[in-house]
Amino acid sequence: MNMQSLILRTAGQFILPLLLLFSLFLLLRGHNEPGGGFIAGLVAASAVSLHLFAMDTAAARRILLAAPRDLIGWGLTLGVVSAVPSIFLGEPFFTSIWFELTLPVLGTLKLGTPLFFDVGVYMVVVGSVLTIVLNLAEEH
């Protein structure tokens, strides 16, 4: 599938990194402010879809680095595994665990199991949207 539009192709080159960065931004701010794995995943998936429209399916697969179905699988695994560490700390399943790291220059970094859960969701959303989109695009 190729739209053969010079404008779309040129603009796409600029928009793609912006959208992907924006999706990362949404993913990271998600826990305390609007955002999160689901919405960020949708933004990333739409970025790749846009690239697909501007270029072709092979180009879209290249940005993904992994097959969309792999993304679903590993994302799901990450999501389930992120609920587990709480058990080893003597807390019930699904309790959030936070660690604080002090980094030079940047200040403190707060990492927690909900972040891993969000990353898992992100991967699943990107994977499932693109499985559908790519399959549809390759039908023709």
Binding site: G73, T77, V84, I87, G90, F93, F94
Partner: protein, 504 residues
């Protein structure tokens, strides 16, 4: 509660979720998926045995997910009934995984057979363990989504036809379930089942309570395939892969039955005259219509499907008589334990017959006794157990339920149960005579399908048959287990105290 116990309650849900995720990740290789399925279901079986053991010791295991206290957060509660059901899920899941080794080929695994199977197990276990009514709905949906996809795996015409009936009726049921939850939440302002049970006692508008309880009765009645909502079951259960049929036959309707047991002992009292009368009628008519439907069938799996319905009637009879006699509830629980193992096994046998002959039609089959005497013997065990012949598990299950019926002097229900038992025997003898005894018809030309080694099939069937014999021979410990589970159900205050602690 200590963390190891908390882990015990969570594992039966966590393990299938994780195995499901891993088998999606390993979608490229059938071998990886099979390995994950075997390991995952074996681990599930072990985890469910541990859970039953821990629950036997401690009576109730309660875990507040994410450390949010009840009744605000979602709790997982394992009482004996829940733990028994989880164990049965573990057994069925493991049996199905072994059976799938040689019946599920590349084609089905590409459509996602293994991840869906794990998802189904996770949904079923979640439904058995949750202590929150809305969460119960969520697990129902998880299970249904997985079952919709499993049902149409392969995409044949008959499957689509069955699936449309199945999906439609189940969606109606889900809508009712959800409306009932909505009304209930509006009435008492809580979703935790223990908390609902407490608050419902203080509600003055008893008319609305009756409406809600009726909605639950119908919603779960549809899921359990009780009269008059059963017709989706024989329309769909004979269409998917045999391993899928067996999983459905063993577990899905029983989740409906379990929910009825749970809701009508804990939240609503089955002693209420209207519910009680309705349950009695439903039980009797479910038994009767199921068995009469089976008598008219000549397709192996359709006969078995109709028998699921008639057996559901016995379980409901146990629940319906519970307010009058504690023994009835014990019988109902015993019946569930017996039924899941036997019914899954019969479906698996029908699959093995298909692998050998290439047909499910009784008229086209025959001569298997001469060729495969071992298989014939293995068929007789679950078949006679289903019909209720001593010393197999079905005899004790029926005996307890019917004895409770005699004690409570529900003569017409006892009569129905006995007649249905006899007709079940007729159906099983029909299968025996047609498939195993009579000579193979000369004029039919059947080609058996291409399958892998039949050893896993025989192993699964023999294992489940051995279990049936064990439940029959060691009926006393199983009876004691059912008795304690029933005691817990009959004293809802124990459950409520365990969940809410001193807060109620």
């Amino acid at each position: 509660m200590s963390s190891s116990l908390s882990l015990t309650v969570a594992l039966p849900i966590l393990i299938p979720l994780l195995s499901g995720a891993l088998s999606v990740a390993g979608w490229r290789s059938l071998r990886v998926q099979r390995g994950v399925a075997l390991l995952g279901t074996a681990a599930l079986l072990v985890a469910s045995i541990l859970l039953l053991h821990a629950t036997w010791q401690a009576d109730f295991l309660v875990m507040e997910m994410g450390n949010w206290p009840a009744p605000f957060g979602i709790v997982l509660v394992s009482d004996l009934l829940g733990a028994i059901m989880v164990l049965l899920t573990g057994i069925t899941g493991f049996a199905t995984a072994v059976y799938s080794l040689s019946t599920i080929n590349e084609r089905y695994s590409r459509f996602g057979y293994y991840p869906l199977m794990h998802l189904l197990l996770a949904g079923v276990n979640g439904a058995f363990l949750t202590g929150d009514i809305f969460n119960l709905y969520v697990w129902f949906e998880v299970m249904l989504v997985a079952s919709f996809a499993l049902l149409i795996l392969g995409g044949e015409r008959a499957q689509m036809e069955g699936a449309i009936k199945y999906v439609t009726l189940n969606l109606v049921s889900s809508a009712m379930f959800l409306s009932a939850i909505g009304l209930l939440y509006g009435l008492v302002g809580t979703l935790n089942m223990a908390d609902i049970a407490v608050k419902l006692g203080e509600v003055e508008d008893t008319g609305l309570v009756t409406v809600i309880s009726m909605l639950f009765l119908v919603a779960f009645g549809i899921k359990a395939a009780a009269f008059p909502f059963f017709f989706w079951l024989p329309a769909s259960y004979h269409t998917p892969q045999v391993a899928v049929s067996a999983l459905f036959a063993g577990l899905l309707t029983k989740v409906g039955v379990y929910s009825l047991f749970r809701v009508f002992t804990l939240v609503f009292s089955a002693a209420e005259p209207l519910t009680h009368t309705l349950l009695l009628w439903t039980a009797g008519l479910t038994m009767l219509t199921g068995v009469l439907g089976a008598a008219a069938q000549f397709e192996f799996r359709r006969i078995l499907s109709f028998h699921i319905i008639s057996q559901i009637g016995y379980m409901l009879m146990g629940l319906a008589l519970a307010p009058l006699s504690a023994l009835a509830l014990v019988g109902g629980i015993f019946y569930i334990m017996h039924h899941i193992i036997v019914k899954a096994n019969l479906f698996l046998i029908s699959g093995l017959v298909f692998c050998l002959r290439g047909s499910y039609d009784l008229k086209q089959l025959g001569g298997l006794y001469r060729e495969k005497p071992l298989l014939a013997m293995l068929f007789l065990i679950p078949a006679l157990s289903l019909a209720g012949l001593p010393p197999l598990s079905g005899f004790f299950a029926k005996y307890i339920v019917i004895r409770a019926g005699v004690e409570t002097e529900s003569w017409w229900l006892v009569g129905t149960a006995l007649v249905v038992g006899l007709l079940t025997l007729y159906s099983m003898i029909k299968i025996w005579a047609e498939v195993f005894w009579k000579a193979q018809p000369e004029d039919v030309d059947l080609t058996p399908p291409q399958t892998g080694s039949l050893v896993p099939l025989y192993l699964t069937i023999a294992g489940l048959a051995a279990l049936t014999v064990c439940v029959g021979l060691f009926a006393q410990p199983v009876f004691e287990l059912a008795e304690r589970a029933a005691e817990q159900l009959l004293n809802p205050s124990l459950y409520i105290d365990a969940v809410l602690g001193g807060r109620a």
